[in-house]
C-alpha cells in the first residue's frame, strides 16, 4: 500500500503544481491560505527575530565605539566632498526651478508611503520573498513598490490585514521594466534567485557600460518611473546584470510606496476632461483666402512649436 499511496500523492502534487501555476486569475482558495499563513507567521517571526535585532543593535553600538576614530576620519572626508556637491546642487536647483517655471512643467506629487519592518526573509534560489509587518490595515495593496534606504527592493504580491509578502527583484518570477539613465535604453530586469538579476531584452542605441545607473522605467504602469534600482555590472557568465542598491543597506526596515497607478500622479480635475486638446502640427497651412481651418491632430496635450522653414 505504501508505494501506491506515494504514487497517488506524488501525482496529485504534480497536478496541484501545474494547476496552481496555470491558473489566472489566481485561485481565491490559495490566496486565502497564503494570507492566513502570512498573518500567523508575521507575529511569530517578529517575536523570534526580536533578540536577533537587539544583538545586532548591540553589535553595531560596540563596533561604532571601537571604530569611532576611523569612522570620524571617513565622515570628515565625506563631509568635505558633500560640501562641494552642495554648492553644485544649489546652483542646479536654481537652474532647474527656473527652467521648470519657463516650460510650465508639472512635477509628480509626492506619493504616500508606510514604513514596515522585515520579519521574514526567504533567500533561497527558488524563492526570494520577504514578509513585512504592514498590510491592508495601513493601506498596502498588491503591486505597491517596496524600497529600502537606497533603492527598489521589490513589490507587494500578497496582502494580509497586518502583513504583506514582498517579491524581491531577485526572485525567479520577478520581471521589472527598467531604463539606463545614461542612454535611456530599456530592458527587463529578470530575477534568477541570485544576488544580481540580469538585464533581458536590452534595447539601447548606445552600448551599455559598467556602472551605468539603472532606474525603473515606469513602462506598463506597474511601478512609477525613476526609482533607483542599481548599477550595471558584467556577470561572470557574460550577461549584463545589476548590482542592486538595496544590497548595500541593512534589510530590517523598508518603505512601501502606496502607488496604485499613474492616475495618482495627475490631478483628478485634469482626468475629468473627456476631450483631448488638439495640437497644431507642422503640416502646411492653407492660405487664409481658402477659408478652411488648419488641420489638427489630437495626439497629445503637448504643443509643438512650429519652426520657420
Amino acid at each position: 500500500m505504501a508505494p501506491l499511496a506515494l504514487v497517488v500523492v506524488l501525482a496529485g502534487t504534480a497536478a496541484l503544481f501545474v494547476l496552481a501555476r496555470g491558473q489566472e486569475p489566481r485561485s481565491p482558495g490559495l490566496d486565502a491560505a497564503r494570507r492566513m499563513a502570512d498573518s500567523v507567521l508575521a507575529p511569530v517571526e517578529r517575536v523570534l527575530g526580536a533578540p536577533v535585532i537587539w544583538v545586532h543593535h548591540a553589535g553595531d553600538s560596540i563596533s561604532a565605539y571601537i571604530f569611532a576614530g576611523s569612522q570620524n576620519r571617513a565622515l570628515k572626508a565625506q563631509l568635505n566632498q558633500a560640501l562641494s556637491w552642495q554648492d553644485k546642487a544649489t546652483a542646479l536647483q536654481v537652474d532647474n526651478d527656473r527652467l521648470r517655471a519657463l516650460l510650465g512643467v508639472k512635477t509628480d506629487p509626492p506619493l504616500p508611503m508606510v514604513l514596515g519592518r522585515t520579519v521574514l526573509d526567504a533567500r533561497g534560489p527558488f524563492a526570494n520573498t520577504r514578509l513585512v509587518d504592514v498590510g491592508a490595515a495601513r493601506g498596502v495593496m498588491e503591486g505597491n513598490p517596496v524600497l529600502s534606504d537606497h533603492g527598489l527592493v521589490g513589490r507587494i504580491v500578497g496582502v494580509a490585514p497586518n502583513a504583506s509578502r514582498v517579491m524581491l527583484l531577485t526572485d525567479t518570477e520577478s520581471r521589472t521594466p527598467v531604463l539606463l539613465s545614461r542612454t535611456n535604453g530599456r530592458a527587463i530586469l529578470t530575477g534568477d534567485g541570485g544576488a544580481n538579476p540580469s538585464l533581458a531584452y536590452l534595447r539601447t542605441h548606445d552600448p551599455i557600460r559598467v556602472g551605468d545607473r539603472v532606474l525603473t522605467s515606469g513602462d506598463g504602469g506597474v511601478l512609477p518611473r525613476g526609482l533607483p534600482v542599481g548599477v550595471a555590472v558584467k556577470g561572470l557568465d557574460g550577461a549584463w546584470r545589476v548590482a542592486l542598491d538595496s544590497d548595500a543597506v541593512p534589510i530590517d526596515y523598508v518603505r512601501v510606496l502606496l502607488f496604485r497607478d499613474f492616475s495618482q500622479l495627475v490631478p483628478a480635475a485634469a482626468l475629468a476632461h473627456r476631450s483631448i486638446p488638439s495640437i497644431a502640427t507642422g503640416a502646411p497651412q492653407p492660405s487664409p483666402s481658402a477659408g478652411t481651418a488648419a488641420p489638427t491632430t489630437a495626439t497629445s496635450g503637448l504643443s509643438v512649436p512650429r519652426s520657420a522653414p
Binding site: 500500500m1 505504501a2 508505494p3 499511496a5 506515494l6 500523492v9 506524488l10 496529485g12 502534487t13 504534480a14 496541484l16 503544481f17 501545474v18 496552481a20 501555476r21 490559495l30 491560505a33 497564503r34 499563513a37 502570512d38 507567521l41 511569530v44 517571526e45 523570534l48 527575530g49 536577533v52 545586532h56 522585515t118 520579519v119 521574514l120 526573509d121 526567504a122 533567500r123 533561497g124 534560489p125 527558488f126 524563492a127 520573498t129 520577504r130 514578509l131 504580491v157 500578497g158 509578502r165 517579491m167 525567479t172 518570477e173 529578470t190 530575477g191 534568477d192 534567485g193 541570485g194 541593512p250 534589510i251 530590517d252
Partner: protein, 170 residues
C-alpha cells in the same frame, strides 16, 4: 510478572519531527545580515524525508511530507506545490534505494542523503525553469544543496533514536 513489550508509536515520533523541522525553518527565515552576509537556508524537511523513506515507509509518510511541503511553500512564498513535489520526489528516490542503505556505514549513508537532496533540488530546478522560463541561479542552488547535505548528522541521529525506540529492531 512480565511487562508487555513497548509498542512503538509512529505518530508522535512523526509529529515531533515535523514540529522540529518547522521550527528550524522558521528560525532560519529570520532576517539577518552578519558582516554583509546572510546565513544559509537549509531545507530541514529533507531530513525526515530521508529517515522515513529509509527506515519506516508508510501510507502516512507521503501525506505528512505533502503537508511539510505546503508549509515550506507558505513560509518561503514559493509557487504553490513546488516543495511538496520536490520532497515527494526525494522520498520516492529514498524508497527506491532503501535496500542499499541498510547496514551501510555512516559515510555511505551520508552520500545517499546527498543524492536524495540532489534529486529534490534538480526537481525544483526543472519545475521552476518550466514555470518561470528562467533557470535558477546554479551557484545558489549548489550552496543550498551543500548546507542541506550538511544536515545528515541530524538524520543519522533521528534514525538511531528510531531504531532504539522501535522494539522490533532490538
Amino acid at each position: 510478572m512480565r511487562t508487555p513489550a513497548r509498542v512503538f508509536e509512529s505518530a508522535p515520533w512523526m509529529a515531533v519531527t515535523v514540529v522540529m523541522c518547522m521550527v528550524g525553518s522558521i528560525i532560519f527565515a529570520i532576517p539577518l545580515k552578519v558582516f554583509g552576509l546572510q546565513p544559509p537556508e537549509p531545507v530541514f524537511s529533507l531530513v525526515p524525508v530521508f529517515v522515513w523513506g529509509a527506515s519506516r515507509p508508510s501510507i502516512t509518510a507521503p501525506l505528512v511530507i505533502l503537508g511539510l511541503g505546503v508549509f515550506q511553500d507558505l513560509l518561503w512564498g514559493s509557487i504553490f506545490g513546488l516543495w511538496p513535489l520536490c520532497l515527494l520526489a526525494a522520498y520516492l528516490f529514498v524508497y527506491a534505494i532503501r535496500r542499499f542503505l541498510s547496514g551501510q556505514e555512516f559515510v555511505i549513508r551520508w552520500a545517499w542523503f546527498c543524492a536524495a537532496c540532489a534529486v529534490a533540488f534538480v526537481v525544483a530546478d526543472v519545475a521552476l525553469t518550466l514555470a518561470d522560463r528562467t533557470l535558477p541561479d546554479l551557484p545558489g542552488v549548489a550552496a543550498q544543496w551543500l548546507v542541506t547535505a550538511a544536515l545528515y548528522p541530524l538524520a543519522n541521529r533521528l534514525t538511531e533514536r528510531y531504531e532504539n525506540e522501535n522494539a522490533r529492531f532490538r
